[in-house]
Amino acid sequence: MEFPVLTLLGLLPIIGAVVLCLPLKGAARPVGMAFAVATLLVGVWVTVLFVGGADLSQSAPWIKPIGATWSLGLDGMGLSMIMMTAVLTPVVLLAEWRTGEAARGRWTPQAFFALVLFLEGLSIFVFAATDVLLFYLFFEATLIPMYFLIGGYGGPKRAAAALKFLLYSLFGGLIMLAAVVGVWVVSGESGNPTFVLADLSKLVIDGPVGQWLFIGFMVAFAVKAPMVPVHTWLPDATEQATPGTSILLVGVLDKIGTFGMIRFCIGLFPEASAWATPVMVVLALISIIYGALAAIGAKDILRLIAYTSISHFGFMVLGIFAFTTQSLSGAMFYMLNHGFSTAALFLAAGFMISRRGSRLVADFGGVQKVAPVLAGVFLVSGLSGLALPGMSSFVSEFMVLAGTWSRAPWVAGVAALGMVLSAVYILSLYQKTMTGPPTEAASTHFTRDLTAVERFVMVPVIGVLLVFGFFPQPIVHLVEPVATASMQAAEQSDPAPQVEGVK
């Protein structure tokens, strides 16, 4: 058997989290950081191996009596998600270096680092799992560290926000548990009870059974990827959590939703996915427009970013259920970009909020004059959020829209409205907080511009956005086979191309 490099990749941060349970005093944070960086290096190694064409999948029996196996595997989408996680974790740790220092006793920086590392490990396993039960197990397990990250660190109402997050997610997760049991029963009826994705996708699960099971999975993923109408937990959670936690929540954990739609909903229930397309497309459009409108009306910067994410997730879901190779690839590319784009916004907003001590848009004004670098970073992050050409989010959003257009022009038209609205919420946010003469509060609170550490934190995030904005081909090539495979699984074919996308 080959060296289980994927297991190592996921296990490394979890070991780090366990190590951090020891009383390490001052060494805790550097040790935690070392584990995060080591994970990133192993991730790079995995990427090199994967691009080199190595088969990294592994499979071992795990719980025989219920047919579960420890099987991990990679495809382009999984790799891009894993690498996003591996890059964002050290960034978050660095940005939140001082989180929890003021707290007495319980919620120490060491505990924060341990929770983040634990979450990273679980997320990596989620993106690598090719066994339905294994996926489910880690999918649910990620809730625990995230619950404590939200509940332990952040605003005054954080405990309630954490509980809301947990209950929404558990609701979706438990519905999915019923569907997972159902999948097992269906596979057992075919004579070979199994959870392995590759075997399951050979089964034809269609008809009402397939539709019900699809709904079971879809509910969980819709809660996770927050789609309207099950999105309300996200603004509350991000409002109370620290920006670093929000990055992991919105950037990484919520991606499991769209990731799961592609890998499990389409992979296991292609017929039901096609059946549900009209509903999903409409829900996606509602998410796009509603998220954008709510962002325009938001008074709290963190809530605003959360609503922009709901809008963006609408684009991803639209790309998935438009069922064209281009829109699917676009959606997967979007998942990656959105992680970095939101991270940049949350980080910049976090720097602003930590200086001003307030999250309200109205409490800022004229920051540009007193902290020009911060303002610049914030503008770039915002422009990425509104998908300005040159930023990678433009490429992915364009791919989604172009793919959708070839399927249903009016849908793409409505979605494009979301792009216009995104310019409104980002630019008006920038205008209200950054431009104009510095308010009194701004001049007293913004005594220093970005520190060296803060600038250093922003470099990889904005770097990724710019690099892939100008050179999107590597990622597109990475995810396109997954899109093609999903198209084949769903027995869909691209409509005769009228728009040649970015290829």
Partner: protein
């Protein structure tokens, strides 16, 4: 029919004989050993007897001694051995908790003189004289011997005797709490009255089924169902009555009302013992009764038990939400767990109904669930004994506020047990829940799974509420963590490790349960 005397298979029923024998010796010890040494002698002897019985069980199990014993009144098969192992192991941990005296400053959790009127001079005097009820150990062993016979019983009459043998000592044990004597005595009285009523129902059911089948033996009942000679109504009425008796012991709704009061009033170590061992024995007996004797009539009882399961899960989960006492909350949680277990019982997914060899079906799932539930429950109740204030154990939830700051380890361990109860992955509770749901669905009861899954969310809410109280509230005044000896810490730590192992690497135990799932008929 002439009565043939056959020598009982002493080697095979050794576990029961050892436990019962040592319980009898325990009575002699009460009479013969000086008071100062009694506690140590009783507790040591009781624990040693459990270890010996456990050894005997494992040896016989290894030797694959699957056969009817004692003229066929008991059946030794896979489920029996699995249940026995669990019962002996969990009773051993319970007895460790019984033996804890460091927590109460040298006094055990049991009343100095249970017969004294609460608040009377006699009570104060006996307390000052440091009197102790060391009878608790033989009582526990008597109860255990009934519990051992109950899931192995192969005829209705043996089952009835076992139910009584296991219940009577429990009624006494419930009344022995050192603190809050009135509550404890109330609990004992309630338990006794309701328990005897349910026994009466059971006995009536025995009579009706005897009238239907003309025999007490499970095999004869099963045969009579195949080729009936009497009216079907007799059977249905009998099954209903029998169910009342057994479901009472399981704590299923609508026969659950004793559970919260008794769990709250009993001494906490006894509550742990009842919550785990009584449930294991009751579910074990229920399985054999329904699968072996009444398996052929399952169309008659499946829907009934399904409705009971739904009620149990709903009432247990919903009422638990408003509880303010940790022991009452755990009681309702235990009721809800009984409901989850019943979903698998309803599924009747066994090798007769298409279970693949080597995979886990109803019986295996239930046994695994009980193991996961047992470790977490005993650990949780052990922790309850540690959280104290001036008046003894602080069971009001408000006293648990901020426990995470005062003792992160203890709160973390309790959190782990709660997560397992809630069925969160990476704990034993999740695998248990998954397997029982799977068995229920395989049996065609997918709607039961959907109800159970939705109610799991409600259950998760109240477990998380305790976590919120422990970790996100300001510490309560006057609450301390008692300093306990290893006797309390062993069940807690073993419970925590087992909860994690059963959640992450459940393969071994699940295979054992799946392999031991076949009833001999």
């Amino acid at each position: 029919m002439p009565f043939e005397f056959t020598m009982p298979e002493f080697r095979l029923i050794a576990p029961v004989l050892i436990v019962f024998g040592v319980a009898c010796i325990g009575i002699l010890i009460e009479a013969l050993v000086p008071r100062q040494q009694r506690f140590v002698v009783q507790s040591t002897l009781a624990c040693l007897s459990l270890v010996a019985a456990l050894g005997a069980t494992i040896v016989n199990w290894q030797a694959q001694s699957f056969q009817p014993v004692v003229n066929g009144v008991m059946m030794l098969d896979g489920p029996t051995y699995f249940m026995w192992t669990m019962l002996l192991l969990f009773t051993l941990f319970s007895l460790l908790l019984f033996g804890e005296r460091q927590l109460g400053g040298g006094a055990s959790a049991f009343a100095a003189s249970a017969a004294a009127v609460p608040g009377s001079k006699l009570e104060a005097d006996s307390s000052a004289a440091r009197m102790e009820h060391t009878e608790i150990f033989p009582l526990a062993l008597f109860a255990l011997s009934g519990m051992l016979v109950f899931p192995a019983a192969n005829d209705l009459l043996t089952m009835f005797v076992a139910i009584e043998v296991m219940s009577l000592p429990l009624y006494l044990m419930a009344s022995m709490a050192r603190r809050r004597r009135l509550l404890s005595q109330e609990a004992a009285l309630k338990y006794f009255l309701l328990g005897s009523t349910s026994s009466a129902f059971f006995l009536f059911g025995v009579a009706l089924v005897f009238g239907y089948a003309g025999s007490f033996a499970f095999a004869d009942v099963a045969a009579a169902i195949h080729s009936p000679t009497a009216g079907h109504g007799l059977l249905v009425a009998g099954v209903g009555m029998l169910s009342v008796g057994v479901l009472f012991k399981v704590g299923a709704v609508p026969f659950h009302s004793w559970t919260p009061d008794v769990y709250q009033g009993s001494p906490t170590p006894v509550t742990g013992f009842m919550a785990v061992c009584t449930k294991i024995a009751a579910v074990g007996g229920l399985l054999r009764l329904f699968y072996v004797a009444l398996g052929a009539a399952r169309w008659d009882w499946q829907l009934l038990v399904a409705i009971v399961a739904v009620l149990t899960i709903v009432v247990g989960s919903v009422v638990a939400v408003v509880q303010t006492d940790i022991k009452r909350m755990l009681a309702y949680s235990s009721i809800a767990h009984g409901g989850f277990i019943l979903t698998a019982v309803v599924g009747t997914y066994t090798s007769q109904t298409g279970l693949h060899e080597g995979y886990v079906g109803s019986v295996g799932a239930v046994m695994f669930y009980l193991a996961a539930y047992g470790f977490a429950t005993l650990g949780a109740f052990a922790i309850v004994t540690l959280v104290r204030n001036a008046g003894g154990e602080a069971t009001n939830l408000s006293a648990w506020a901020g426990l995470g700051r005062r003792s992160p380890v203890l709160a973390g361990l309790f959190g782990l047990f709660l997560l397992s109860f809630a069925g969160i992955p990476l704990t034993g509770g999740f695998i248990g829940k998954f397997s029982v749901f799977e068995s229920a669905w395989e049996g065609g009861f997918w709607w039961l799974v959907v109800v159970a899954v939705v109610m799991s969310l409600v259950a998760a809410f109240f477990y998380m509420r305790v976590i919120v109280i422990m970790f996100f509230s300001e510490p309560a005044e006057g609450t301390q963590i008692g300093s306990a000896s290893w006797l309390t810490w062993v069940p807690i730590l073993v419970g925590a490790v087992a909860t994690l192992v059963l959640g992450i690497l459940p393969g071994g135990v699940l295979e054992l349960a799946a392999g031991a799932a076949g009833f001999l008929r």
